[in-house]
Assembly symmetry: C2
Homo-oligomer: 314 residues x 2
């Protein structure tokens, strides 16, 4: 198993936790992560890539594990000062986190594409896996709520995902191109994993980059998805509510419906074992396992199960 090349489509917290287990059961240098940039933002002109950062912080041991994001032990001195001087400060940024955004912003302003900047940051932080943004082009997730369309972070952080989600649009997607290496990593992988991230706001914005969805579909037999829904609920965030308002069943079966053209297998939690037949009826191989990543053992076991479910595992 240590030799298998694995490419993972991943969002933020859930994806990063899955990856923590994965890089303990395969050689990290054989892992390529395609990350979501739809929730990127530019507070104060600094380029923040929250999902890429969560992966970086998690896999290099810097993450604030309790929150799931941000740097452990970080302080908000700069942010609180900005707030005191009249700036908006609803997007929490610690001082150490700011340092990363400053470095990234300097690289982008010097003309580096996001993928190259990400590679430099990852190398400086000691990441052994390869982390690629889905695209170097500007792509932003926009959320339609009853009060109108807002950018992703306004919906998610500022308004604490309290609004009903009536639609989702990926601004810039049509003109975006996959970042260098993304299509190749999907094509060359032994296993492609769709991490237990929110399908609508973590995975869809990756797939919205022209070429990526087709690349994943071309590998369907070797693609394994992990349901982020357990017993009708998301472990974190608004995935369950989105399934409902966007017209899907709020269950692992609803997830199977979303991924049926993409994934040959779907990992569902033991609590959802009774849904295996309906998942299979949608054309995905159901694999029942523990999907709740409560500790390091559980994370490793989930990674092992995902790899086992792919291709030859059928």
């Amino acid at each position: 198993m240590a030799d298998r090349r694995v490419t993972v489509l991943a969002g933020g917290v859930g994806g990063a936790r899955f990856l923590q287990g994965l890089i303990e059961v395969v050689d990290p240098s054989a892992v390529t992560i395609v990350g979501n940039v739809g929730d990127d933002l530019e507070p104060y002109g600094l380029h923040v890539s929250p999902d890429l950062d969560t992966v970086l912080y998690t896999l290099t041991g810097r993450i604030d594990a309790e929150k799931g994001w941000g740097v452990r032990g970080d302080t908000p001195r700069a942010l609180e000062q900005a707030r005191a001087l009249g700036a908006e400060a609803w997007f929490w940024l610690g001082d150490l986190d700011l340092g990363l955004h400053m470095a990234r912003t300097e690289m982008l302003r010097a003309g580096l594409p996001l993928s190259a900047a990400t590679a430099r940051l990852a190398a400086a932080m000691g990441l052994r896996a390869t982390l690629l943004p889905s695209t170097d082009d500007r792509l932003r997730t926009m959320i339609t709520t009853p009060a109108g369309e807002v950018d992703f972070q306004t919906y998610y952080v500022r308004r604490q995902h309290a609004d009903a989600v009536l639609g989702i649009r990926f601004d810039g997607a049509e003109a975006a191109r996959p970042a260098p290496g993304v299509l190749e990593a999907i094509a060359a992988a032994d296993v492609v994993v769709i991490a237990p991230s929110n399908p609508f706001i973590s995975i869809d914005p990756i797939l919205a980059v022209p070429g990526i969805r087709a690349a994943v579909e071309a590998r369907r037999d070797d693609v394994v998805a992990v349901s982020p829904i357990v017993a009708g609920k998301a472990l974190r965030g608004p995935a369950a509510a989105m399934l409902q308002t966007l017209g899907h069943e709020t269950s692992a079966v609803g997830v199977a419906g979303l991924y049926r053209s993409l994934a040959g297998a779907l990992l569902i939690d033991r609590e959802d074992a009774a849904a295996a037949g309906r998942v299979e009826a949608l054309g995905l191989r159901p694999r029942v396992t523990g999907t709740i990543m409560a500790d390091a053992d559980a994370k490793r076991a989930l990674a092992v199960a995902a790899l086992a479910a792919a291709g030859a595992g059928s």
Copy 2:
């Protein structure tokens, strides 16, 4: 004296220290400061206005008095993280200082001119005097050294003003317009003071904005300059070296030569009392006083002497 309206052209540290004394001897709300923006920079895309910030921090009690700039008790957590991740970090920025730059940058990105952003920051910080940038337009001091032309902060901070200064240019000056209120503050003042700042890199970039030099010259009888050179030396920074390489006498007389069309009076230090005759021969009223601002008393006394030297004081 409390009723007199005073407008001060000021650079960074020396100007800010002079202003500390001034606002103790006149009503601060009657003081307008025209600040230098030639040394502004945009590290990491954040808009930093070092001279305006030094005035703000000094006059609102936040200054790191030992360094003369920056915020007392500030920490470089973000900067050190950026450095660790490969970013340039030769321009020191503390976390609290970053908060100010973040707030300013947000305002500028929202479309506010620098003067309006400065007014908001000043109000939030409790500044009672009026602080105006010389211009809302982009103006940058460029320094010609034996190795070629570099931007001001590369010369001053990165290379620690070790290069001989062969020429100075104010990029953008030709198209710059005075910020709202600048010409009016010069015209309406009872006294205009040219603070003991570096004539070449603090005062000249202000005067380089079309209209400002003429406005000061029109008030020449009421303009008092304070020599930043004492006994042939600058108390701080490269003013003396610049006088020399740019072809001027390295003395208060050299300063008098620079300011003869602008100022009716020049305050020179007691150590330079013997030069009074030569200052007078250049057409400026010499006023011999203590110009070294060693403590609060000395700052107040210098402000009183400057006001006394103006107009009717002749």
